[in-house]
Symmetry: C2
Subunit: 165 residues, 2 copies
């Protein structure tokens, strides 16, 4: 099955926020995102990977303008949940390959990551769906990253299909 790649999106207006070392037990994710929702802050990407020794991190991206408010929310939630700490990183860019049918084409993710690797762009976070593969990179690498992915998928012409891996 062939994936259809429609373009590359870049978002330079978000910060990466991480609640570090949260206890991996029911209710923690709910507490964090309830606190954020109650303050009316929009959240984009949410990422949580597996835990080790009963602890994991929960990260998300949000508008840079909301960082001051998020810091106070995270202070409160970190204390309430017993998290180790929280971190804010406002020097990121989110690079997304946008398309369809990407779940069943393993080569698409490989090609995107190879495009970034060839430019020595480090991938700091990854989150995927059938229509989008999103990577967080340093903001300073964004332009190079976008050009590399655009070239890899030959997105000069529209619409483009993913190259068969």
């Amino acid at each position: 099955e062939q994936a259809l790649i429609s373009g590359v999106a870049v978002d330079g207006d978000e910060a990466k926020i991480t609640l570090v070392g949260v206890p991996d037990r029911p209710g923690v994710a709910a507490a964090l995102f309830r606190a954020i929702a109650d303050e009316g802050v929009n959240v984009d990407m949410i990422v949580q990977n597996v835990s080790h020794e009963g602890r994991t991190d929960i990260s998300f991206t949000a508008p840079k303008a909301d960082v001051p408010l998020l810091r106070t929310i995270l202070d409160r939630v970190a204390a309430a949940t017993g998290a180790a700490t929280h971190q804010v990183d406002d020097g990121i860019a989110k690079i997304s390959l946008v398309g369809a049918g990407m779940k069943t084409n393993p080569g698409v993710a490989a090609e995107m990551f190879e495009a970034l690797a060839e430019q020595r762009v480090n991938i700091e976070m990854i989150s995927t769906s059938t229509i989008r593969i999103s990577c967080v990179v340093r903001a300073a690498d964004a332009d190079r990253a976008v050009r590399a992915v655009h070239a890899k998928f030959e997105l000069g012409q529209e619409p483009a299909a993913a190259p068969r891996a």
Copy 2:
């Protein structure tokens, strides 16, 4: 802006695979997913969170039937990339809230996580897009999780809009 929630999906046919303690440097994600793509294995959810002390984990879900082949691939990639180890977990289910416009409604993620927390279902991995919020849980918790999320978003009637948080 109101999110539109169209349903809850559950996938019980996938395993969770994690490459643990990979060096956080360009080329690692590319090496992993190129090796997987070259063997023709389909990958669904890919999740990578922030690194600590230069190391992070890369997890993904894939069909359980591909686990034996993936184990051999991961052996090779773990050695090649200097990862600490790899883990396979075939006792998971993936619960997804499916809809649209979910990026700008922070209450939707909070409500989904609260539905799971109320049932004491632990969330093991999270990955989101504007059209899908996916949580990995224990397979034994899948039925309870689906019913809880279904009830939270009042998905008995179709179509349903997300409740205003």
